[in-house]
Symmetry: C2
Subunit: 302 residues, 2 copies
Amino acid sequence: MNLISYSSEINNDNKKSFIDSIDTFIFDCDGVLWIADTIVPGAIETLNYLRHTLGKKILFVTNNSTKTRQQFQDKIKSFGIECFIDEVYGSSYGAAIYLNQINFPKDSKKVFIIGEYGLEKELNDQNFKTIKEINKLKDGLDSVQNTVIDKDIGAVIVGMDTQLTFQKATYAHMCIKEIEGCLFIATNPDSSYPVKDGKTLPGAGSIVSMIQTSTQVKPITIGKPETLLLDVILKKDNLDPKRTLFVGDRLDTDIAFAFNGGIKSLLVLTGISQLSEINNIDSKINPNFYTNTIADLLPSNN
Amino acid sequence: MNLISYSSEINNDNKKSFIDSIDTFIFDCDGVLWIADTIVPGAIETLNYLRHTLGKKILFVTNNSTKTRQQFQDKIKSFGIECFIDEVYGSSYGAAIYLNQINFPKDSKKVFIIGEYGLEKELNDQNFKTIKEINKLKDGLDSVQNTVIDKDIGAVIVGMDTQLTFQKATYAHMCIKEIEGCLFIATNPDSSYPVKDGKTLPGAGSIVSMIQTSTQVKPITIGKPETLLLDVILKKDNLDPKRTLFVGDRLDTDIAFAFNGGIKSLLVLTGISQLSEINNIDSKINPNFYTNTIADLLPSNN
């Protein structure tokens, strides 16, 4: 079953009415604004046109849990793109704001994290007490099974962590299994993590999968294609979903995210998903709109 | 759909014909012969009766990948049970024999293992070259993504490993993704690992799940309820499947293992699965036979 039955191509006839119908443009970045280390031609001009000429609101979203918003803002600016800190949403920041929104008792409960600096910093910036490093236990079953957990932990948050150990996984497992009401939150479900030369590492989703398998507990997932990050954005910025658009390059994450969250979607063909994947009988998911590149939103010359 | 539509209870009328129909009794141990640290009453007498009075062949099976056969034999004997080394099959030994049976090129290819002493020892005993410890890399993404794998690795075997690190998982991930034809083998799919006080740790299956999620490659699984370990046993001991019985206490692992492998099954009610779970409309799997305890196989007094 298709989520959206048919996608419309952006062209000179419908471009103005399409742009007029949107107040807020939320951008996925890699594959949309840049590809690896190279800016998409016209991306800067398009963002400036939307922001300054038309007065549109611009937001940037990333599933990457290892970076703070500040670090991600620096990366965006390094491409020459104008960007303010309040326009940046990452899955770690989303996790922290989610805990705020559900009134997690930050005075009495702590958060155990499997994650890197970005996750820890975003949580600490929202005044959550975090436990990240656990006592280095002597290797082996006899010591691992004697792991003592802090019973004041109220949530386990799992993201990408290049310093994952079996001890950390055990600590998370025991919190979820043994502390009543302890939340299990995943920053993002990405199964692999792209690095240089087209290679990949195990991603946050693979670490989440380990803990989900061992505990048989399904996590609350913040990042794309789940909708909590989008809910956080809509609520925090008080946006009208009907006049909000997500621009992405992947059907299974970006476009599903927009659909699941009840906003409009635009697929650009500069990244992962290809034109052949939409508007045919095999399409599992179609965007509302598609176009070759983000630069197609600029006014046409003819 | 039930795998077997109806289970017969062992009673005084059918006991002799049932036992006469079996040459080889394969036993799951915990829940059948002992429960945690306590022998099941009559278990020793039953095994002696089957072995010495009736001349039946006796085998012992464990999914636990951390122990060698020698260590598992010692454990069996510690309960006062007679046991010879050739009667013991574990999932690590099974993995080694599986590699022999598929003619894995042990002279030119190595095996990367995520696992403990038992797995390493069983592979080395069959003259496989193993890589277990990788160079301790400096923590962090920059160093992890520079992991250099040995291109002579022909198989990755994943079992229970209390010394799992992200670096080890990355090494396994890269071997599976980057070396053409590299096998991905799981010793056993157990999601959690029981320890003292009724607690659990993440099990081999949870580590396997991490690598399966990151690589999107399904492993070849040796242990119960998959059938490779049973295939290894039947082939190595040249057993007639029609006259071979598996005795276990869990429907979803032991009884499924017997059914999937084409041998008969006997469920004992001293362990996990309960009588209420079989012979009703909700039964997903029924054993061929069931009885309260292994001791019911002893000749009756009346």
